[in-house]
Amino acid sequence: MYAYDSFDQSLIAERVNQFREQVARRLAGEISEDEFKPLRLMNGLYLQLHAYMFRIAIPYGTLNSRQLRTLAHIARRYDRGYGHFTTRQNIQFNWIRLEDTPDILAELAGVEMHGIQTSGNCIRNVTADHFAGVAADEIEDPRIWCEIVRQWSTFHPEFSFLPRKFKIAITGAPHDRAAVKVNDIGLRMHKNAAGEVGFEVIVGGGQGRTPAIGVTIRDFLPKQHLLSYLEAILRTYNLLGRRDNLYKSRIKILVAAVGAAKFAEAVEEEWTRIKDGPLVLPLAEIKRIEAQFAPPQYAPADPFPPEVVAKRQASPAFARWMRSNVAAHRQPGYAIVTLSLKPDGGIPGDATAEQMDAIADLADSYSHGEIRVSHVQNLVLPDVRRADLPALWDRLTALGLATPNIGLIGDIIACPGLDYCSLANARSIPIAQRLSERFADPERQREIGELAIKISGCINACGHHHVGHIGILGVDKKGEEFYQIALGGNADENASIGDIIGPAFSADSVVDAVATIVDVYLDRRQEGERFLDAYRRLGQAPFKEKLYAAH
């Protein structure tokens, strides 16, 4: 993975010193909260319901074991012993003291981490496929391009005060695990007719108050022009995007208002002007970054180790885990292992300091010291020898990290909701916990098959409810928590926004409502038909009928 050079290192060291002075001045009353707030937010420090919350960037969801141990240490020393992995592949600490924050940033800087680009109206931390570099279906590793975008966008003076925050996601595989169509810019790597690899450029996707699926404005962008094209998009948005209304300031509103064709025209015009300028990426620079993401030296490994075959036969629990939590690796004899942060009845995305330390050890023992964070709020060991899977499963089971539910109904995304977040209208976590308990039976989960429940505690949609197969949005109705259900959302290459099924459900009845939806699906599905496909075939009617018949 990418290692900081002296420029990166001095940049964040300077930032730590700057913030240390700013915090001291705030505590001494030399600057007001109004003056301090934008400064703390630029370092990822929010003030939430109960305390300060520190959001730490994990660029494109890639961590090494040393970084994860530092996060464990921060959880233990400065927080309450746990952290929360987010849908932007970052981590949040919920119980931070302002006076500790400069020391925390200094500890992070020691392992090439920070909180920059996790807040504010700038280009946010770029996200990527969490299987990047190892997925069997991948065309090219998107992290090289994420890192190039990171370096270009960090403190970019022209784009530090955009109309609103700006999110970019990149995938290098045909199966989109990075939700690129619901980002401000989504980049999908693919090959053109000549066999060259480049980017499909998708703009104007997003969730929040006005969800939208991004539209393709350029089918093929040669790689060396990535930065100039991004700059042309950002410049067009920066000039034309609305600043008079917070709810209409994202690029998706601009693209919808002027039309995709006109927006593309404006971008192309600007790009034509700048494309052959200083932003053309020199091949040597691409190679320099590429070298940092070179695959590890894989020792030859048996693709069908007898110990795995034997364990599968002996242990139904291991067999279940293999089916749901282990994915195909591009290297024969290796596997990608997803560690579920969704234990039955647990809080999605939370990990204790002890778990983080243990995962760092497991990464060192089994995965070349590397860990990934998925936008689905799980962790991934990307480089596991298949022969090591039985031993790894034993260790993960002991740590509570082997729940066999990846991609199944128990693999719920939930934002922190009103238990932590000052923007939320309703709680998300207790609903996720009750659903997870209700569907805890692993055989039942397997029978239901692929089903993504996503829960947000407010319209900002951090819990991605718009693209949940079953999306749940918490709303406040006259001081009471209610939950609106939408069906048919999807975040992959066939992305769609869910349709609201009808009036919202009370906190007491929403779990039963989801169970009813699942029952209708099981009753009406055809052989091998996934929930999403069944919904697309059947439409809302049969679900609505059952849901509101007794309501």
């Binding site: 003030l47 305390a51 928590e481």
Partner: protein, 96 residues
Amino acid sequence: MSRMVTANRLRDGAVVFLAAGGRWTRRVAEGHVAETEAHAAALLRAAEAVPTEVVGPYLIEVAAHGGSWVPLRYRERIRAKGPSVDTPVKQPAPGA
């Protein structure tokens, strides 16, 4: 309408309530309750005058309950009591 002033403490963000004598307390039961518009406005002004102690003071509605006070809105009840879910580690905040 009974109201009191709440805010987050500057140094650690903890939820606090304005008590008698201009003191800030973690306990909603100890909050200074205003029953009139004028009194509530005066309490808020007093809170805003100490920007090095707290951040973002505002008024909340409270109701008498079991000899104490509880916020009316559930958002404020969660602020007053902490998360409604068990945190993964039962560990007090550093310096709490």
